[in-house]
């Protein structure tokens, strides 16, 4: 390629890059729209909203559930399990933390309305002395925790929940031997 050819190539390459950055990237990513192309292509909205989302986001609670706060305590005898769940609507959020006085087998799960038999969607499981976080329901149904005491002494668990929940329900059960329940919960 000739001398002028190469200089032209570099010029074209630079122009191409600047055009892309100014017309598309700046409006879409940062809400900056010097050429008006972002508005034309409908990209600025995204950039402006994305900038806002970056500062924080509010998820409105559904009309069905009012904001509730609850602090519950469970005593688990050896080889006893407990299930504590709430009714939540799709999109509703709860903030939780629970603490046990020893490691406990747990899972956080959700059962969609009208689900057959013992169908449940596992959200999070493990063997920990506690857990905390924010949970957002993806469908209408019952959402809650299952804890299982596999030790030979009494365990206590304290759960704190705040969110758009209703109809708290606690069910406990006991199992005779630790081996009767599958290891992979």
């Amino acid at each position: 390629m000739s001398r002028t050819g190469i200089i032209a190539a570099i010029g074209c390459a630079l122009a191409l890059a600047v055009l892309l950055l100014v017309s598309v990237v700046l409006p879409a990513e940062y809400g900056i729209d010097p050429l008006g192309t972002g508005r034309l292509l409908g990209l600025s909205e995204l950039g402006a909203r994305a900038q806002q989302d970056d500062l924080g986001r509010v998820v409105s609670g559904s009309a069905d559930n009012r904001h509730q706060e609850e602090r519950v305590r469970f005593e688990l005898a050896p080889f006893e399990s407990v299930e504590h769940s709430y009714r939540m609507m799709a999109g509703d959020v709860l903030v939780f933390s629970w603490q046990a006085d020893a490691e406990v087998v747990f899972n956080l799960h959700a059962v969609p309305d009208g689900a057959p038999g013992d169908y449940a969607v596992g959200i999070r499981d493990g063997r920990e002395p506690g857990d905390a976080g924010a949970y957002r329901a993806r469908f209408n149904g019952r959402h809650g925790w299952f804890w299982e005491n596999r030790t030979e002494r009494v365990l206590s668990i304290e759960l704190v929940v705040a969110g758009f929940v209703s109809e708290p329900l606690t069910e406990s059960a006991s199992f005779s031997q630790p081996g009767t329940l599958k290891d992979a919960l």
């Binding site: 390629m1 190469i6 200089i7 074209c12 630079l14 191409l16 890059a17 940062y30 995204l46 290891d183």
Partner: protein, 232 residues
Amino acid sequence: MRRPTLSIVVLLCALCVASDASAHNVSETSAGYLAGLNEAAFPLFMYLGAKHMVTGVDHVLYLFAVVFLLYVPRDVLRLVTLFALGHSLTLISGMLFNWQVNASAVDALIGLSIVYKGFENLNGWRTLFGLTPPVGIAVFAFGLCHGLGLATKLGAVYERGEGFVVNLIGFNVGVEVGQLIALMPLLLLLAWWRQRAGFARYSGAVNTVLMGAGFAFAGYHALGAVLGPAVA
């Protein structure tokens, strides 16, 4: 019992978000998992390394630019080895000694490596400046940059713990495997294209577009460094 199932779930999740290459970081799902990982997981890290290379358009474009003019297998092997040596060196030492570098700056530099190679392919150094800088040394030096990029991406989500060195080597091996996976179709495509009359005619256009893409990458990441991370 739980670990293998968990790994499979993570791999599936990682596959689902593999298309999210725009930000080109280790994906959020694997990030959350890696942060809590405190054991050797060679295959998982190898997979993540390979995925990072294959889904990383910047790495793939650079490789394309490197092999664009090469038709002797020995030359391909030589340059790809130099590139691999370069990025392995900075990937391993960056992670081992926990170098804190600006990720956006490194990514911008990776963009410029594509520009450099496109310029070199157009014989720009000779034509404009009467110079012939050694090709191998440039590929090795830009390999160092790419490795630094790999180290910042992995370092952002994975910290020293049990099995650190094993996982690091796994990631590095994965990067090489991913590089070969990306390279194979490129080499075949080029071999086929070189037989045709259009190759010489379009060579200038292809390298111009490569330079354009490199400038765009560099600009995108420079914006990220100045205006904060892209959010869309």
